[in-house]
Symmetry: D2
Subunit: 347 residues, 4 copies
């Protein structure tokens, strides 16, 4: 079985990551690429300022880029990935949905909408059924699924694993985020060399709300947010890729660090082509200086979560977690959601 | 009035900072420098591998370095600064104390001893009277005073300011620490370029315990630790100088961010030669991306604390703080304690 | 005597440096600031996104920014500094010259024009008399003087010093340039962290031609280029400020390294308010790892040139040189030219 | 056919690279590992502080590390790789040679000895016959072959390609070298963040002499150095891996840049398991900002040379070149020499 996919916003940084990740994919085949009007009509190799250190896959290089509009995308496309700037996405994505397309989107608009599934396949695959609610509400035949923000994705698997066994009541998280999270030109070298920036616009709110939606319960009709308190402080540091996060959690039960490590390590993965066998890898007390962004971000093709430094506090636990922000945290997240849509029969 | 001072461990990184800071000091005059045996007998300019980007003060360059032993230091020295490795300091400092010297030490040994004042002059100058207890206990004529760890110093002034008005119940702090905190050769470039390290040996424990001692109460006989819960997660990032810290605090009262900013800004400074007029500078909502290490570490000759990003959480507040780790956080901290000893009449 | 000065393009990175450098200047007083139309009419503190780590000088903060047009600048301005983008400068500077203003410009347009003095005050102050030729040619009352590119300024003082005694025949120079040379947003962090870029658009040609003009002879009527061969290879590295350059020179005479060091060290400075007493500082064989950008860029307020590693090759000499690229290499260069114009009576 | 190999100094940075490179090698099998006395007797996984981001190959992890002495290495070892510090190597390597071993060494001692082949397989495989001279001179049955320094290896393939067609008369080279070239702890973060260092001890002399030996002619009895003038200036920059070098060459003939690019691109590779098909990849005028260390160092598993920026100068050409310093420039260089020894029948 071959799934015909298209990429909306294919020339941007995340768009390029989609193309890298889809190269050699067992079932997905790129058949459409869209970008802004100035790129439309050009072959992809001309339209994109390609920045990866692997060449553009040969067949993709020659695809003619279309406008980001349903008219420019063939009817035979089964699935669209979107990595448009959120301002553009909030205008354009609805047009594709009204035209009946299934869209797996990394853009931040509508993530918190009540009828839009915000999904990490290993965490809340059942939220996908929100699509029925969405279709009822919106009156379209398409389906919109979102993945969370990169900083959220890094932490939520660890919260989910601890919540299951011990009940998360509160999480105070501080992030050390890589510059690639801001896009290719988002952070200038004058800003970040020999420095750190204690602010990423909108990021803290995303972590605080998206986490509770991801961990929330869907009863078939309505989604209720998890009632844990989540407080985030987000920082940019001079690292290229990989978000490192320090988490303090209050738990209903008080597990030993060993029990917490076991809960993290044994949290089940999912059987999808791009998913790692084991979702969370935990470094023990013998490696207290791990995970580190440069050493651990590429584990399992950048799709695994790493954790470490698990230890007790008077109120619960503290630990670190890490993921590759543009792989597991962005393009890989949408791709995995696309694979889940296929697996669950929505495509 | 001139105070004759000596520096124990004068060739190391913090020792060099002492010499820089004492250059042009209104009352302190360097009259003795000590180092390891291999340096003893050499003029300072030969003994030290000088790494600052200002030259060695001319008169200091010619001082003959002595061994780190009371016999090698003149009787006329009023005050000793110590920045020895803690292993060495725990053996050597007692010898100086038994010989009757007053020692203001940055070394980490004995900071948590019940009869050793751990002091930041603006925060707990009254703890100095522990010296009486210390003399009783130890039977020496000298006096030992310690300053806290650099990461502790960065945060505690902000906790003290909030505690006074609103009552600190808990603090979860995550640090983003500069490489200079580990000494000149402490962090290799292979470890830290394009990376971050979620572990600094012993640092979290120091922050968790020293903070509570600094904020504790001394009744003239005994020091009781503050009963707040303090949880720390310490990280090294690729920044040269300046520790940035994210703090989540639970408070007995619930101040507005504006009230909290006011409490921080108006926290009184102290009238000592090296102290800033205003201890804590707070960036408001119009500058959410401050403080930053490179832009703010040198405020008031590196002796001021900066804060920003003050905002509400369900349990209290979150904010960032920053200080220069080798100035306010190390050599400058001991120097300020030395000035306090003079001011309070201990010298 | 007070000289009334204005800054064209006052909100940009170099414009901000002008304002920093002019703060406290003994004779120059800022009386006019211009910027693009969108900034016109606003006080400077609102118009500029101020990025220095010192605050805007109080009186400058309130100056109303005007349009970059002669009509918006008072007649009483004696001297204008220009740091406009070269595309804008090539259109706008002539209007000011026709209106009779004296302009000391850092912009790269017209640097190689036959009747425009390209000047480093210590190197070729006599070229200033090209202004007479310029006025004849152009029919204006104003005067335009240019300073060279930052990478050129770093090297040319060393070439001039060696040329005088030993005759430069060829120089092969490779630069390691700081990111600030490209402006605040010129180099993204994704481009330069853990990397280097062997290309800076137009830079090699600037070094190759500007150097020969600076070292050329002016006979009162015509300027002839120095006939040395100059070959440049320009690279960007992950350093904030300070260009480091490796130079191989072929010389007519073959001086010993000691003689070459002596020629560099003794090259005369100039008596201007912002000029260093000694132009070139040379590190000897005992400090083979100097000059280094971070340690040496701020020497003499960033206005001195440093050199080191002087040694023999079969064809001549090799050595390194370094200067602060936005101080001595840009704003400070124009300022110094302005001071020269006053000293020489052109203002 | 299986070749049984051992690694002298297997726990160091280059030793670890050998182990990584040999994992999955078609013919070489690791059967012996040596290290200092303190490691002897331990399994490799305990003896080495493993720093790569891939795990220790399983079978290697359990090998018992021996002392670096012939007695501790089995007679059945066909080939030894050496990456010992040169001080140690100069004492120890002769013992292995006298015991009859064939040693492919990355250590810098004896590289310039008249009877020791200094070899890059694609450049001067015929120099291998110096082994006969060596055996005559030294009276041993073993064979010692050296590879050049990492900075030399990056440049010499480009010089060889140009020399063949156009005759190299002089090369002025400036390097921008990565920190990994100094070993894991060789460059501290305090030295190199926001900085560059214009000195690497002994490096310039290595480039100047090794290059001329590599390009020299061996007439079966004696090796004569190439008579080109080679001048090197070596700099360390804040980059993890990959040396970038700017080269100015004077040539007997004056090729166009296009002809020079063609000569570089078409320079023949060699048919060895770890050799790239094409030795030198050249970026054209459409990519003037390449090669870059981070983007190009891993080409062909880090074994290819990249070049770019080829353009004319009055005296010849200038261009940049780049290679991975610990792969093609160190462990990979020795490995390739080992493969050549097998291919040529010396093993």
């Amino acid at each position: 079985m071959t799934v015909s996919v298209g990429i909306l916003g294919a020339t941007g940084a995340v768009g390029q990551r989609f193309i890298q990740l889809l190269d050699g994919h067992p079932t997905f085949e790129i058949d459409a690429l869209t970008a802004s009007e100035s790129s439309a009509g050009k072959p992809y190799r001309e339209a994109a300022k390609w920045r990866a250190n692997t060449p553009i896959p040969r067949d993709v290089a020659e695809i003619e880029v279309g406008k980001t509009h349903p008219d420019a995308v063939g009817d035979d496309i089964d699935l669209l990935f979107s990595s448009l700037p959120s301002g553009v996405a909030s205008e354009v994505e609805p047009k594709f949905l009204e035209a009946g397309y299934v869209v797996s989107s990394n853009s931040s608009n509508d993530r918190m909408a009540e009828d839009v599934p915000l999904t990490i396949p290993e965490i809340n695959p059942d939220h996908l059924d929100l699509i029925e609610v969405q279709r009822d509400n919106r009156g379209w035949d398409g389906a919109l699924i979102k993945n969370p923000n990169c900083s959220t994705i890094t932490m939520v698997p660890t919260l989910a694993a601890l919540d299951e066994g011990f009940g998360i009541e509160r999480a105070d998280v501080t992030t050390l985020q890589a510059v690639s999270g801001a896009g290719y030109s988002g952070v200038t070298s004058m800003e970040i060399i020999d420095n750190a920036i204690p602010h990423i616009g909108g990021e803290e709110n995303k972590m605080e709300t998206e986490s509770r939606k991801l961990l929330g319960e869907f009863d078939g009709a309505e989604l209720s947010m998890h009632d844990a308190e989540v407080n985030a402080s987000c920082n940019r540091i001079p690292t290229l890729d990989g978000h490192l996060e320090s988490v303090f959690v209050d738990l209903a039960d008080d597990p030993s660090p060993a029990a917490a490590r076991e809960a993290l390590e044994s949290f089940p993965g999912i059987d999808l082509p791009s998913a790692p066998d084991q979702l969370i890898h935990v470094f023990g007390d013998d490696q207290p200086d791990r995970p580190q962004p440069r050493l651990d971000r590429n584990r399992d093709n950048g799709m695994a979560i790493s954790a470490g430094g698990v230890s007790e506090t008077p109120s619960g636990l503290k630990y670190n977690c890490l993921a590759h922000n543009t792989l597991r945290g962005a393009a890989g997240a949408s791709l995995l959601n696309g694979e889940l849509l296929v697996e669950e029969g929505w495509i």
